[in-house]
């Protein structure tokens, strides 16, 4: 097993789900819950004669960052694209539920509990959503995750990390959108409909799914940061993601609520102003919106080194 210290400078993009989970929390603090030794494997995959994974492609556990208990959910894109089935879905749901219950227990037990001692949830996304081999169970699990996110509101902050190859799409694109805070690297991608499906719907001349630059301009970290959909854009290392989570630990629940993009009538109204802009602009390319946001040389932003990008970029205000 890789030493914790060696995980820190590692590429978040290239790291495994378990390495991300272990590296995000303090050294030696991670306890995996329903880990590979428990061998919870999908009977649905077995029925189809397909290979199974002892963790069903999702690592769940608990660790600490400083004084903060951190419940971690980390999806593994190398196992069936990080897709969510019955077991992986139940692991996500239970990790969030345990955090909420732990919060309630601690609040009942300690009358001097401070914000830093309250739990938070971190979800590292690497998934296209529902696992088709067990699609119906996967779909129902998505609805349960959404339910838990709402139940966590006002108690346990939920932070999304998106910096993996697969990104966060399909039903898990909804789940990511519904978290309190989204941290991305420029290699992360967030959306609903994957590029191949858009091409199929709109035609290759409108959207060429093989054009990697186009795909990143439309759903990648830089774009989502400009749009306000990603709250923070960080370097592609485990340490950078960890540092950002660490900086957020201990903030009040009200501060987390403020960082949400959706989740209240007022936030929906703000999003509707963006939708009105979409209708008015009918952008042919994401960079049209970057220009509208006040970036005079939008195309230069694509390849600018990250620190300079962050120093100069203008984000969309509606």
């Amino acid at each position: 097993m890789t030493h914790w210290t060696d995980l820190q400078p590692r590429s978040f993009l290239e790291a495994s789900a378990r390495d991300r989970a272990i590296g995000l929390v303090d050294e030696g603090s991670f306890t995996e819950l329903a880990g590979p030794f428990d061998r919870v494997t999908s009977p649905h995959l077995a029925l189809l004669g397909d290979a199974v994974a002892f963790d069903d492609g999702i690592v769940t556990g608990v660790g600490k960052i400083g004084r903060t208990p951190v419940f971690v959910i980390s999806q593994e894109g190398r196992f069936i694209g990080g897709s969510v089935g019955e077991i992986g879905g139940a692991k996500m749901v239970t990790a969030i539920k345990l955090a909420i219950d732990f919060h309630d227990d601690l609040v009942a037990q300690f009358d001097d509990l401070d914000e830093e001692e309250k739990p938070l949830v971190v979800i590292s996304f690497e998934t296209g959503g529902v696992r088709l081999h067990e699609a119906n169970a996967g779909l129902l699990a998505h609805a349960e995750v959404m339910d838990q996110l709402q139940k966590a509101r006002g108690k346990v902050p939920v932070i999304a990390l998106i910096g993996s190859k697969v990104g966060a799409f399909g039903g898990m694109g909804f789940v990511a959108a519904a978290t309190d805070v989204i941290i991305m690297s420029e290699f992360g991608r967030l959306g609903l409909t994957g590029p191949e499906v858009i091409e199929q719907e709109m035609g290759k001349e409108e959207f060429d799914a093989s054009d990697r630059a186009l795909v990143y301009r439309t759903t990648g970290g830089r774009h989502k940061f400009i749009m306000g959909d990603a709250n923070f854009l960080v370097e592609n290392t485990v340490a950078a993601f960890r540092d950002q989570v660490s900086a957020l630990a201990g903030l009040s629940i009200e501060a987390f609520e403020e960082m949400r993009r959706i989740g209240s009538s007022a936030k929906v109204k703000a999003q509707l102003r963006a939708v009105a802009l979409a209708a008015e602009m009918q952008p042919g390319d994401a960079t049209d919106v970057w220009t509208r946001a006040g970036n005079t040389d939008a195309h230069a932003l694509i390849d600018l080194p990250l620190p300079e990008f962050l120093a100069t970029v203008r984000r969309l205000a509606v």
């Binding site: 019955e86 539920k97 732990f102 699609a135 129902l140 909804f174 939708v275 952008p283």
Partner: protein
């Protein structure tokens, strides 16, 4: 199975079949009115009475096209539609904010939608936020005591069903003879993508409901509470279900309702038996180490 006339694309007709005659006021929910007819035309929202009880109605209009967002037609939920549906929910919550649990208005979702808007503009502006906003609003209303009943009349497909239906307290569906479609993807597409021949999948779907399509399979997984056999049966089934859901909420049994309740139903019906094992295992694992993560004073 004698096939019956399909309700696909007939969300507006379904509203009239379900609510008290002539009671549906479109575009008004509590203090909120939706005055622009071109705003989110794929979503029909409004207020009606159901046996005298004021309800919020949310449906899709299979005949509407959104001129501004041309990917929206045939009941697809687009950027405007998702937020419009969310606004109707928030307006319901706000209107009843001061009312006791027993008087929170029910929300009736009439479900016939083939998908969420797939498009470049949609991805640039974040279609995932629009439908997630609606799901969070529904979950909030449910947890604040509004009974939410989904009635599937036609298509309840994948992400669109997640958005419009799966956050309800209880889900009813017209049975298979109405051609009701509930699935993530048709078996033919699943077969192509996961590279298994269709015959194999068809045989396996008889043993395991998790990748088969249709209301009966969803029922056996606990994803649908009950099937409705006739069109005339929709109204009384919804009325009865509102009463049951209301009673459960008054007794504090929210965990028997909604997505979590359907998880329990999936276990009871033998359709999802891994889920409870995972919950039990993780809860046990955490209980053994919880002290390490609590403050040490």
């Amino acid at each position: 199975m004698d096939m019956q006339e399909s309700m696909m694309g007939r969300g507006r007709d379904a509203i009239e079949m379900i609510v008290d005659a002539g009671s549906f006021a479109e575009g008004v929910v509590g203090a909120k009115s939706f005055d622009d007819p071109e705003f989110g035309p794929g979503a029909v929202v409004g207020t009606a009475t159901l046996q005298g009880t004021v309800c919020t109605i949310i449906a899709s209009d299979g005949g509407a096209m959104n001129e501004k967002f041309p990917v929206v037609y045939a009941g697809i939920i687009g950027l405007e539609e998702g937020y419009k549906m969310a606004e109707a929910v928030y307006a319901s919550i706000l209107e009843d904010a001061e009312k006791p649990l027993a008087e929170k208005r029910p929300l009736v979702l009439i479900v016939d939608t083939p998908g969420n808007g797939p498009g470049k503009v949609e991805e640039i502006f974040g279609m995932n936020k629009s439908t997630a906003a609606y799901q969070l609003a529904l979950a909030e209303a449910r947890l604040k005591g509004h009974p939410i009943i989904a009635m599937v009349i036609g298509r309840a497909i994948s992400g669109a069903f997640l958005c419009h239906g799966l956050q309800a307290d209880a889900i009813l569906s017209l049975d298979a003879q109405f051609g009701t479609m509930i699935h993530v993807m048709p078996l033919t597409s699943v077969s192509r993508i996961i590279r298994k021949d269709l015959e194999t999948l068809e045989v396996l779907s008889k043993q395991s409901a998790v990748f088969a399509a249709g209301p009966r399979f969803f029922h056996s997984l606990g994803g649908v509470e009950a099937l409705v056999e006739t069109l005339d049966g929709m109204r009384p089934a919804i009325v009865a279900r509102i009463a049951e859901v209301r009673a459960a909420k008054l007794e504090g049994r929210q965990d028997d309702l909604g997505p979590w309740g359907r998880g329990k139903l999936g276990e009871a019906r033998g359709g999802r038996i891994e889920r409870p094992r995972v919950i039990e295992m993780m809860s046990r694992d955490f209980a053994a180490v919880a002290d390490r993560y609590a403050p040490s004073r």
